[in-house]
C-alpha cells in the first residue's frame, strides 16, 4: 500500500498507512523535520507545507489525499528564498519552532499576491500561531520581500 508522493521535486514511495497524516509521513518516514507538530488539529500552522502551491496543514491531511500532488516543504525552499533571507536579515525567529510554517504560509501568499496589503498579510497569516510573539517581525519581513520583489498589482496601483 505504498503511496507515491512528489516532495520537493522528488518522487518518493512511502509505506505509511494511507490514513497517516502527511506530517508524520514527512517527519517519521521521509526524514524531513522542517514541518513541525504543534496542535495536530489544523489550528496552529506549525505543520504548514504547500500542496500544488496551496498552504495546507499537513497534520490534518491523510497522506492518501496527497497522491499526485506537488508537495513543497521548507526544505524545498532551499534556504535562499527571499523570505528566508528577510527572516534572517530581520532576525525574525525567536524559539523558531513556528517559523517554518510561517514562512510556508507567507511563501504561498506572495506567490499568489506579490504585493499584499496589511490586511491581506493579516488574513493569510492568521492561521499561524507564534507563541513567542514574533508577529511584528514576521509582518515586516513579508512586507520587505513584497516591496523588494513584488510587482505592483492592479489593485495596489489603483
Amino acid at each position: 500500500m505504498a503511496t507515491s508522493l512528489e516532495i520537493n521535486g522528488r518522487t518518493v514511495q512511502v509505506e505509511s498507512a494511507p490514513d497517516t497524516p502527511l506530517l508524520w509521513v514527512l517527519r517519521d518516514e521521509v526524514g524531513l523535520t522542517g514541518a513541525k507538530f504543534g496542535c495536530g488539529i489544523g489550528q496552529c500552522g506549525a505543520c504548514t507545507v504547500l500542496a500544488d502551491g496551496t498552504p495546507v496543514r499537513s497534520c490534518s491531511l491523510p497522506v492518501s489525499a496527497l497522491s499526485g500532488m506537488k508537495i513543497t516543504t521548507i526544505e524545498g525552499l532551499g534556504g535562499t528564498h527571499p523570505l528566508q533571507e528577510a527572516w534572517v536579515k530581520l532576525d525574525v525567529p525567536q524559539c523558531g519552532y513556528c517559523q517554518t510554517g510561517q514562512i510556508m504560509s507567507a511563501a504561498a501568499l506572495l506567490a499568489s499576491n506579490p504585493r499584499p496589503s496589511d490586511a491581506e498579510i493579516d488574513a493569510a497569516m492568521e492561521g499561524n500561531i507564534c507563541r513567542c510573539g514574533a508577529y511584528q517581525r514576521i509582518h515586516a519581513a513579508i512586507q520587505e520581500v513584497a516591496q523588494a520583489t513584488g510587482q505592483p498589482t492592479a489593485k495596489s496601483r489603483a
Binding site: 505509511s16 517527519r27 507538530f37 488539529i41 525552499l77 525567529p93
Partner: protein, 730 residues
C-alpha cells in the same frame, strides 16, 4: 527574597543569591543535602580545553562559545557569545555558539548554584564569568605573541581575532598563535574593558546566530530527534488531577501495526511504537480504568468562589492555612476622610502553551549510561530526578540540550514531570534503546503546571491631596514553591513579588499586605514573568483608578509617587516612554492611551499602549516601551524580547484562560484555548535607557505591563475598570 537581580552581586560576579528561580533551583541542591556544585556533578565527565569551559578556539582561529544556557527564543546564545567576543576581541562573524553538556559544577547558573535557565538571569549571571573568560583567553594570546615576538605584552593589541604589535609591524591570527596561547596559564583576574571601550556590546552587530537554521528547518528540536532504533511513546494520562491507573486492557492497542509495547508507568499507560502515528493510534484504542478516589474534584469556578470569600474574610480557613503578611506598616484600617477605592481582581489558570509540546528522548540501560537528548531548562534538576529513577549518580546522567520551541517556564519544574515520564518508559524498554516521548497538544495542556488561578482584594484610602494614605491588599493564590524540596517558611515571595516592594506601597504611610496560599490538586508553576503576571496588573490598574479619583493625570500621578518612594529608575523609564509616546499631545481620533510601569527581574519597564475599541473589545495599535535593563548587550534582541513579551502578555490580557471543571482540564487545544494571533499583534517600539550597570533581565520584564496598560486605556475610554482577565472570554 524577590526577583530583583542583585546588582552588586552581579557586578562582582558573586555566586548564589536568593532570587526567585534561584530559590527554586537551589532547592534542587538541598534535595540531596549537599553542596550543589561538587556532589551533583559527581560522575560527570566533561572535557575542558586550554581556554576553559566556555571557549574553544580552532586551529583556523574560529571561536566557539559554549553556552551553559538553553536557547528557547530569548536570544541568550548570541548575547552570551557577544560577552566573550567583546573581551576576547574576537571577529564576531567567526564566533559560533555551542550548547554545553550538563555539568552542575562547570556550568552552574552563578545566581542559582545549579545549572538551569530561568528568572531572566542567563545574561545577568554570566556577565562577569564570561567577561573574565574572554579576557583571560585574550591575555593568553597577547602573552603568546609577546613571547614569540619578544616585545612588551603591554604594546600588543587585539582586534577582530588578529593580534598585532604596531611598532614591529608584526601581526598574527588566533589560529597562528594557538599553540603558544594554549600553553600559557590563564590569569585568574584578567583586566576587563571599561564600558566605554566596548566595540561590540550594545551595538546592532550583536544579532542572533540561529536565524538561518530556524528559517530553513535545520535547527534541531527534541521533536526532530531521530536516533538509530528509536521508539516513540505516547502516554494515556489520568483524566483528572490526582487520579491513578487502576487497570488497563492493551489487547486492541497491541494489534495496531507498529505498536511494540504497552507499559504501565506511575503517570499512566505508555504505548511504545515504531512511529508517532502508530503510538497515537494505539493509544486511541487503549482501554484504561482510573482510580479517582484521590482526584481533585473542584474546578476553576469553585476555587474562585472560595478564594473570593476568604479574601473578604468570609468562611473558616482549613487547618494550617493562614494569612501571611508580606508588607505591613502603620494602621491600614484607620478611618479617614479621603476617597476610598475598593476592588477585587480575578485571574484564571494559564497554560504555557509553548509551540513545541513537552517531549524528551531518553536512553536507559545501555553501555554508555543514561543519556537524555532534549531541551532541558534545568539540567541539574533533570539529572537528579533521572538519577533517582535509574539509580545512578546525578552527574553521570548525560544531557544533550537542544533548542526548545518555547518554554515560558514550563520545561523547568521540581518534578521534571515529562522528563521523568520519558525516563520511566525508557527504563522499562531498557538496553539503551532511545525512546522519544511525545506529548500531543492535548497531553501538554491537560498536564497542568499552570500559572495559578489568583484572586486579589485591594482597598486604598486617599489622603486629602489624593495620594494613598492606607493600602490594604489581600492575595489568594497557590504557592509555586510548594512541593519543592525547599517549601518556603512563611510566605512564598513569588506569589506577591511586584506588589511586595512596590514603590506605590513604599509611598503609602499605612500598608497591610497579606497572602493566603491554599493547596489544591492542580499543579502550578512559574509562567513567564511569574508573580508579576498578576501583581503588575493589580498595582497598575489600581493606580489609574486612584489617579482618576484624585483627578490627576496617570503619568503625573505615578511620577509623584515614584518621587516619594525614591524610585529613580521608574521615573526615568516613565519619562522616556511618555516623551516618545507623545503623552502630552492628544491621541489620534478614536484612540485612548494607557500607561503602566513595572519592575521585575532587575529591569524596569514603562509602556504606553494606544487602544481603539472595536465592537467593544480593545484593539491595540502602537505600544511605546522604555526599558532600563542595565548594560544592553544586544539592542536588537532586547527589542525582540519586548515585542514578543508584549504579545505574550497581551495574549493573556485578551484571550488565555484555562478552565478546570471537576478536577479535569476543559480546554485542551488551540480551538478551545485561543491565543493571540497575527492580526492582533501591536506595533511595539522599544527605547533602551543608556546604562553602565550590569545587565539585568529582558526575557520576562516585557510581559506584565501590557495588560494593565490596555485596561487603563479602556478605563480612559469608557470610565469602566477591568477586574477580570482575560478581557475577551471564549
Amino acid at each position: 527574597m524577590n526577583s530583583r537581580v542583585d546588582q552588586a552581586a552581579a557586578r562582582s560576579g558573586a555566586t548564589r543569591r536568593g532570587l526567585v528561580v534561584g530559590t527554586a533551583l537551589v532547592s534542587g541542591a538541598l534535595l540531596v543535602g549537599c553542596s550543589p556544585a561538587d556532589l551533583m556533578s559527581a560522575g560527570a565527565k566533561t572535557e575542558v580545553g586550554a581556554f576553559g569551559p566556555f571557549i574553544r578556539i580552532a586551529a583556523d582561529g574560529a571561536v566557539t562559545v559554549v553556552s551553559k544556557h538553553i536557547e528557547f527564543g530569548q536570544g541568550s546564545h548570541a548575547g552570551l557569545a557577544a560577552i566573550v567576543a567583546e573581551e576576547l576581541d574576537a571577529d564576531w562573524s567567526r564566533v559560533s555558539v555551542e550548547q554545553s553538556p550538563a555539568n552542575s559544577k562547570l556550568y552552574a547558573n552563578t545566581l542559582m548554584g545549579v545549572q538551569g535557565t530561568g528568572g531572566s538571569t542567563a545574561i545577568a549571571n554570566s556577565w562577569m564569568q564570561l567577561r573574565k573568560a574572554g579576557a583571560a583567553a585574550r591575555a593568553m594570546f597577547t602573552g603568546a605573541a609577546a613571547a614569540a615576538w619578544k616585545v612588551p605584552e603591554a604594546e600588543i593589541t587585539v582586534k577582530d581575532s588578529v593580534v598585532s604589535h604596531v611598532a614591529s609591524g608584526k601581526s598574527a591570527g588566533f589560529g597562528d598563535l594557538i599553540q603558544g596561547a594554549a600553553a600559557i596559564k590563564p590569569p585568574a583576574e584578567p583586566s576587563l574593558k571599561a564600558p566605554e571601550a566596548f566595540t561590540l556590546i550594545g551595538t546592532d552587530r550583536v544579532r542572533r546566530k540561529d536565524s538561518l537554521a530556524k528559517s530553513t528547518g535545520q535547527a534541531r528540536y527534541t521533536q526532530d530527534v531521530n536516533l538509530a532504533g528509536m521508539l516513540t511513546a505516547v502516554v494515556a494520562h489520568a483524566p483528572r488531577f490526582g487520579a491513578k491507573v487502576s487497570g488497563f486492557d492493551a489487547a486492541e492497542a497491541r494489534k495496531v501495526a507498529g505498536v511494540v509495547d504497552v507499559i504501565e508507568i506511575p503517570t499512566g499507560v505508555a504505548v511504545v511504537a515504531k512511529s508517532t502515528w502508530a503510538a497515537i493510534q494505539g493509544r486511541n484504542v487503549l482501554k484504561v480504568t482510573w482510580d479517582e478516589s484521590k482526584a481533585e474534584g473542584r474546578g476553576s469556578a469553585e476555587l474562585e468562589a472560595q478564594y473570593t470569600d476568604w479574601a473578604a474574610g468570609k468562611g473558616a480557613l482549613p487547618d494550617k492555612l493562614k494569612w501571611e503578611s508580606f508588607e505591613s506598616r502603620g494602621d491600614a484600617a484607620a478611618a479617614g476622610e479621603g476617597e476610598v477605592f475598593e476592588a477585587t481582581f480575578d485571574f484564571p489558570f494559564l497554560a504555557h502553551a509553548s509551540m513545541e509540546p513537552m517531549n524528551c528522548v531518553a536512553q536507559v540501560g545501555g553501555k554508555g549510561g543514561t543519556k537524555l537528548t532534549f531541551a532541558s531548562q534545568s539540567q541539574t534538576i533533570d539529572q537528579i530526578n533521572t538519577a533517582r529513577i535509574v539509580g545512578a549518580l546525578p552527574g553521570s546522567i548525560q544531557i544533550e540540550t537542544l533548542f526548545a520551541g518555547g518554554s515560558f517556564g514550563r520545561r523547568a519544574n521540581f518534578q521534571s514531570d515529562f522528563v521523568a515520564e520519558c525516563v520511566q518508559i525508557a527504563k522499562k524498554v531498557g538496553k539503551g534503546t532511545p525512546v522519544k516521548l511525545i506529548w500531543t497538544r492535548e497531553d501538554d495542556m491537560a498536564a497542568g503546571y499552570f500559572r495559578p488561578l489568583t484572586h486579589h482584594r485591594v482597598r486604598v484610602r486617599l489622603d486629602k491631596d489624593g495620594y494613598p494614605a492606607t493600602w490594604t491588599h489581600r492575595v489568594v493564590t497557590q504557592s509555586l514553591m510548594k512541593g519543592s524540596p525547599l517549601a518556603p517558611r512563611g510566605f512564598d515571595a513569588t506569589t506577591v513579588e511586584g506588589a511586595m516592594g512596590s514603590p506605590y506601597l513604599k509611598a503609602t504611610p499605612a500598608v497591610d499586605g497579606q497572602v493566603l496560599m491554599p493547596e489544591n490538586g492542580v499543579p502550578v508553576l512559574w509562567w513567564r514573568s511569574v508573580g508579576a503576571t498578576h501583581t503588575a496588573y493589580v498595582m497598575e490598574h489600581t493606580l489609574d483608578h486612584l489617579a482618576k479619583k484624585a483627578g490627576k493625570d496617570p503619568v503625573a500621578y505615578r511620577l509623584t509617587l515614584f518621587e516619594k518612594a525614591g524610585a529613580a529608575r521608574h521615573i526615568a523609564v516613565l519619562k522616556l516612554a511618555a516623551e516618545k509616546a507623545g503623552w502630552d499631545k492628544p491621541a489620534p481620533a478614536g484612540v485612548t492611551r494607557g500607561v503602566a510601569v513595572h519592575e521585575c527581574f532587575g529591569s524596569v519597564v514603562a509602556q504606553i499602549a494606544e487602544v481603539r475599541l472595536v465592537d467593544g473589545n480593545p484593539k491595540v495599535g502602537r505600544v511605546v516601551t522604555a526599558i532600563d535593563c542595565g548594560t544592553a548587550i544586544s539592542p536588537d534582541q532586547i527589542a525582540a524580547q519586548i515585542e514578543g513579551g508584549t504579545c505574550f502578555g497581551l495574549s493573556a490580557a485578551l484571550h488565555d484562560e484555562m478552565i478546570i471543571k471537576a478536577g479535569a482540564v476543559d480546554r485542551k487545544n488551540f480551538d478551545a484555548y485561543p491565543v493571540l494571533r497575527h492580526s492582533e499583534a501591536p506595533k511595539v517600539e522599544t527605547y533602551i535607557l543608556p546604562s553602565t550597570n550590569p545587565p539585568s533581565g529582558v526575557g520576562e520584564p516585557g510581559v506584565p505591563v501590557i495588560a494593565p496598560a490596555v485596561a487603563n486605556a479602556v478605563l480612559a475610554a469608557t470610565g469602566t475598570g477591568t477586574f477580570r482577565l482575560p478581557m475577551i472570554r471564549a
